[in-house]
Structures are given as C-alpha cells and as structure tokens.
Amino acid sequence: MHREYLHEGALPFCLGCGHTLIAENIDKALQSLNIPLLDVILVTDIGCHGIIDKSFKTHTVHGLHGRSIALASGISLSLTNPEKKVIVFIGDGGATIGLQHLIDSAHKNFNLTVVLHNNMLYGMTGGQPSELTPLGFKTPTLPEGNKIKGFDICEVVASTGASYVSRVVGIGNISEQLAEALSRKGFSLIEVMEICPSYAVKSNPGMKLRQVTEDAGLSVKVYADHNIEGFRPEIKSETQSLIDTMPVIPVGYRSERSVPAKILIAGSAGEGVQSAAELFARAAIASGLNVTKKGSYPVTVGIGFSASDIILSPDPIQYTGSPDPDYVIITSTDGLEYTAGLIKKMNHGVVYLDESLPTPETKATVVRIDYRKTAGARNAAIYSLLGLAKREKLFPTEAMLDILNQGKLSGKADWNKMAEGI
C-alpha cells in the first residue's frame, strides 16, 4: 500500500497486532480525504500504540497516560484554522484512566477525532484488565477470566451528545470507517476492536475477534452521527486594563493620625460589613492615609459572621496582620461569637459594642452604642465606622460622607444626621 503520512518500513508493533492495521488505514483514510501532511496533528497516549509517533511524517505530540484527549483538546481549542485535523491515538487503558477527559471533550464537542485502540487489556504492562475488558475474557493476570463486565464506551460517549461515535472490528480494510470519523465536524470517536497477539491470544486460545465483540454485547455500528459544528473559544482581540480602569481616589482631606490604627469590625453576613469596611478604607485613603483591608467569613458566605481587618497608617504598611487590634467594633451576635476569644485577650484598646449584646469579658474599654436600633441592621456597620472615625479622630467624617452621599448609597439614609448624632 502506498504511504503518504507514514514512513516506509515496518511499524514498531508485534506481528499480528491491530495497531499496525490502524496506522496503515489512517494513512489511507487521510489520503482519501486529501488532508495536507502538516495539517495533521497526531496526539498519542501511553501504551504500545503510543510508540507510533516516529513512523508518522505529520506533527506528533506524545503526552501522558490517559491525558492525550485533554492535551489534544487544548491543541484543538488553540487552533484558529479549521482545516487542521487533530487526531488522538489512545488505548482502552488510557480511556479508562482518562475517562473524565473523554467524556468532557465529547460533551463539549471539541474538534478532534479519537481513535480508540481497544485490545481489551493493558498490553505494555503484562496484560492487566481495563474497564473495557469483557466478562470472561482471560488475561495473564486473570487466568480464570474477567469477573466484571466491561462497559460499552461507545454508549457512554454517544450519551454525551458527541458529534460522531462508531465501533469497527479491526480486521481488513477499515479506512472508509476511519475516513468517516475523520471527516465529521466536532468531536468524533471511533473504537477499533483488536486482539493483543502477545497476551490475549495465548490466554484465550481459538478466540475470534468478531465473536468476542459479539459475545460482549458490543455492537459494530455507528452510534451517533450528528455532524455538529465543534466548539471554538472566544478570542477577545482587546480586553480592558484592570489597572487603568480603576477609580483613582482623590486625596481631599487630611488625617491628624500620627500612628497606625488597627481596626476589626465584626458582624453578620448579609449586613454589609465588607462593603462598609471598604467604604471606610476609601475615606481613609481620601484623607491621605495608607490602608489595608482583609475580609474574613465562613465558606458559606451568606450566613454566619462577617469580619474585616483594617489598618490605617500615615506611613507605608508592611505587615498586614493585626492580631492585637486597637479598636474592635461588634454589631451583632455572630460578630461577638467570632471575636470572643480575641476580646478576652485584649488588655488595651476599645471595644465598641452594639447595645443589644452582652458585655464580654475583657480588659479593653467597652463602649456600648445603639448601632442596630439607630441605623438598622443593614446600615449598622457604616454607622459604627462613621462613629469610630469621629470619636477616635482617625480622619474627618466628611471624607466618608462624601462617598456615602455621592455613590449608590446616596439617599439610602440621612448619613449627615447619623454622623452628627454619633
């Protein structure tokens, strides 16, 4: 047979191995489709079939066991020229360990063709069974026969909505079936049934490939032929800078603070603690201070405590931890529970506590304020931070009022009155 895509000479497989038949028929199929040599990107898995690379004149990529379909998917996603043809050679072992990749690629309908070399065992490592080994099939490690029924990989892949799925028996000329799979849009899989001459023939004397396939209940047919256009990712020609689009915070006020202030505010999720802390931080920046802010909350962000550590400083801030805050604000029971351990250890500083909460054990000064009753649960955090800025002379409250009165919170409450009152 004339070869176009394969080098001349013997292929590197055992005598009688179906891998040779597949490689030669792929060459023939590609010839029939007239695909340019360097439009073909062959991605091979680990297994005997994977040593075929050196025999191909096309581009070749040889990866890891079971991951070839994912690797080929990445290549397929990267291609902008629809004429390129990505082909994956994988065995039943690779399809077993990489089943997630097979299902994912088929389901997403990536543009590639998987040629599944199913010889029903692991040929490179001594003939162990794969998930596709049929019930009763004997291998050197299963002399009494496989006690588990292998699954029908074509059924599985077809169920994902793949563009094309078929099974053939690897005897004779299979180039037309391979060409059919290669010519379909999107994801195609063709499973070729084979017998491993080194391990399966000796373990199953007299066995016939067609018979084994039939006995295993594996239909030789086209399972799906939808010819659906494959997935191509969006390539954005231009995206916006993440820095240039950030709002600059003008410094319009002046803070009299000469030393850093470490603040912890703790309340309940859903009560605006994080946004209040950010707003407070922006006001501090607008007053010429350096600021850091961290949020703490449970993984279930919608329930439980919500806390924020803020450091304000006239000098650059290096260490952003604040294990010993100067001021702790607690606006709810969740916040009190979260900070109880810390407050107990505090021997300086001030704890600002909502009036509704029990006074915790602490050596810090405790100041009780009716945050929730005055401002409501939703605005208690903002109200408390307005109060902190004012009482502790951290920065002018006007800096915070500017943001409140100009932004999306404008009109949500009488912020000026709140600032006067606290």
């Binding site: 990866g63 290549i75 990267s78 954005k236 802010k293």
Partner: protein, 371 residues
C-alpha cells in the same frame, strides 16, 4: 499618601495585569480558594479564558495551547497543584512555556482554604522527578507582583519552561492603597519562532541550551513534542546517550542560566552579625521588624529571596558573612531553611516559624532578642 494616583487594589489584580501585559494570552482555570480573585480577573483580562473541569485537564489544556505557541497561565492552591504535578513534568519535558500561580493556604490536605501559609516550598522543590528544577519566584509586595510576574513570563519563554509564581492567601486577597504611578511600564515579551529552511530539529539546543520553538501550527516543518525520554528529533528512546543528554540538559539549562533570573533584595547593615532571611508574606513582617530593631539600636540585615528555586548561589555567600542566620517562614519545619542547610542545620542557622498564623514582627524580634 498625597498623590492623585491612589487606587485601592489587591495583588491578584496586579499579577493578572502584569502577566497579560508581558504577553500571557490564555488562562485556564479550575476554581479554588484562595486563588479565586485571580480566576475572576482572568475571565475579564486574558484574550482566551477557559474553565476546565479539573486541575489535570487544566495543565493538559495549557500544554495544548503552549504547543500552538501561546503562553498559558493558571492559578491554584496545594490541592490543585498536587493534581497537576505529573502534567507539569510533562510540560517541562516538552519544554513548554507557561506560568503556574500557586497561592499557598494552610494544609495538609484540604486544610483551611481561607488561612494563609508558606508550606509548599518542599512540594515545588520535589515536583520534578529526578532532581530537576522549575524556576520559582516568590512575590513579597506590590512591586514584586507587578515586576516579577512579568519577568516570570519572560523566563518561561526564554528558557522554554513552566515557571511557578509562589504567593499566599494573605497576599492575593488583601486590599491595599497603592500609588499607581509606582507601576512602571511592562514590555511584551519578544517571542520568536524557528524560521530557518533546514529541517527543524525540535530539541536541538542553542548556546544557552534552549531549543528554538516552533508551534504545531507550522505548515513548513514537522514539529514533535514528546514527554517520554527522547532524542533531539523528539523521537522516544529508551536511554540512548543522546536522549539522556537531552534530559540532563533540561536541568542544566535552568541552573546554568540561573544568574539571568536571580532576583532578591539585600538590605545589609554595617557591622550586623545577624541576617534575617525571608520571602513572600513573611518578608513584610521582617521589614517591619528590622526597622523597629534598628530604631532600638540593634544591628540586623535582611535578605528577601524573590528567586526561590533553584536556590541562587549568592544566597549562600550572603549567609556565610553572618554569625547568626534566621529564616522566617510560615510553615512548621522551616522548609526553605532545610532546603538550603539540611534537616539538621548548623547551630547558627535558626528559624522563626508559625503554622496557622502570619508571623508577626513581634515574634521575629523576640527570636532575634533570644540570642
């Protein structure tokens, strides 16, 4: 701060912007805390963004994009990184440029997703089978996030290798005020592909031991990428002399070019006998501790490592000048100290360590005082 350029940002944003400006063009992500902000920004900023179904797929898709000439990036934390390791070996063997951002969190296993740590140095050091190295950079402040991230892209392309950008939860999730005029220009990496007429030999090294790159999209030359042991043509070999030499070259190309990507800050004080060594989040506490100690009349020097791996030889010569060397790092056993000086380091090599908490300047000062 008195400037008209103050923004309130986080390091995830700076890292993302820097990588893209330097030429990274694809982000493949699988969500994991505390790397979520990197994923979120990536979805807006990279020309191509794809959500992968798991971390093994992530690295495989990245490799697929890389063989086509792209520069892919991902961000993960230890649980995801652990799944990526075999595929990182594959990418290194194929000599594919890519950047993997590892945001450290408290382990072991799932640990606590929202607690910071610096506990993955040993895992990175052991990522490659056989003792091979991956260039690994640690980010210690906003300037590093901006400058070192861009350099990571350069190193990945210039030396055809995966590069690890090491950071931690407290760094990428903390917001801070920043004068954006401090962020200098970033040049897009100058990437060239093989353009000769001769047959392309995929793993024929240049003088700097790095082969020229040609993507699988070439219509002129056959290209091979191979993860198994291979010769210069990319053909699988058992252990032929040429193939073994090719594998060894993967190591020598990194260590022999290390001086090209050795970055650190050295703040030495005249007559100081104590050297503090740190990196990443803990370096910030060290800076504060050193400033306070000097105000109190103590003499102390500080080495902030940015190139973590391979360990630049200059770190040893700096350490050798001091009677006392203290490594500050947020892990149980002092992974970087052990990596440099062994499991049982000499008595003058000490450590400040924490697990589950950031190391505070106070803690560092206390250890230094306890001479």
């Amino acid at each position: 701060m008195n400037s008209n350029n103050i923004i309130f940002t986080d390091s995830s944003r700076l890292i993302t912007e820097s990588l893209v400006r330097a030429g990274a063009d694809v982000f493949i992500g699988y969500p994991i805390t505390p790397a979520n902000l990197l994923y979120q920004y990536a979805s807006k900023r990279y020309p191509v963004f794809m959500a992968a179904p798991d971390e093994i797929t992530t690295l495989q898709w990245m490799s697929g994009f890389a063989v086509s000439g792209h520069i892919p990036v991902t961000a993960t934390s230890f649980p995801g990184y652990a799944l990526m390791i075999e595929s990182i070996n594959m990418a290194a063997m194929m000599e594919l440029p890519m950047v993997i951002i590892l945001v450290q969190r408290m382990g072991p296993a799932t640990g606590t997703a929202t607690r910071g740590a610096q506990g993955d140095i040993s895992v990175i050091q052991g990522t490659m089978s056989g003792g091979f190295s991956l260039p690994t950079f640690s980010l210690s402040n906003a300037a590093d996030c901006w400058e070192i991230s861009a350099k990571a892209v350069e190193v990945a392309v210039k030396f055809r290798t995966p590069v690890i950008l090491l950071t931690s939860k407290e760094e990428v999730m903390t917001m801070y005020s920043l004068d954006k005029s401090s962020l200098g220009p970033i040049n897009k990496v100058n990437r060239t592909f093989y353009s000769g007429n001769e047959t392309f030999v995929p793993y024929e090294p240049n003088e700097n031991l790095v082969p020229e790159f040609l993507p699988v999209t070439s219509s002129e030359h056959q290209v091979r990428f191979t993860a198994s042991t291979h010769d210069k043509k990319g053909i699988i070999q058992n252990a032929s002399p040429e193939a073994l030499a090719n594998s060894k070259r993967l190591h020598t190309k990194i260590v022999s070019n290390l001086k090209d990507f050795t970055w650190y800050d050295l703040d030495e004080q005249h007559e100081a006998e104590t050297l503090l060594v740190s990196f990443g989040i803990t370096a910030q506490a060290c800076h504060e501790a050193v400033a306070e100690l000097r105000n109190e009349g103590e003499k102390v020097s500080l080495l902030t490592a940015k190139t973590l791996l391979p360990v630049p030889p200059v770190y040893y010569s700096v350490c050798s000048r001091y009677k006392r060397v203290i490594f500050a790092e947020e892990n149980l056993t002092g992974q970087y100290r052990q990596l440099m000086f062994g499991i049982q380091p000499p008595a003058h090599i000490e450590g400040v360590n924490e697990f589950g908490h950031m190391i505070s300047p106070m803690h560092i000062k206390k250890v230094i005082h306890n001479a």
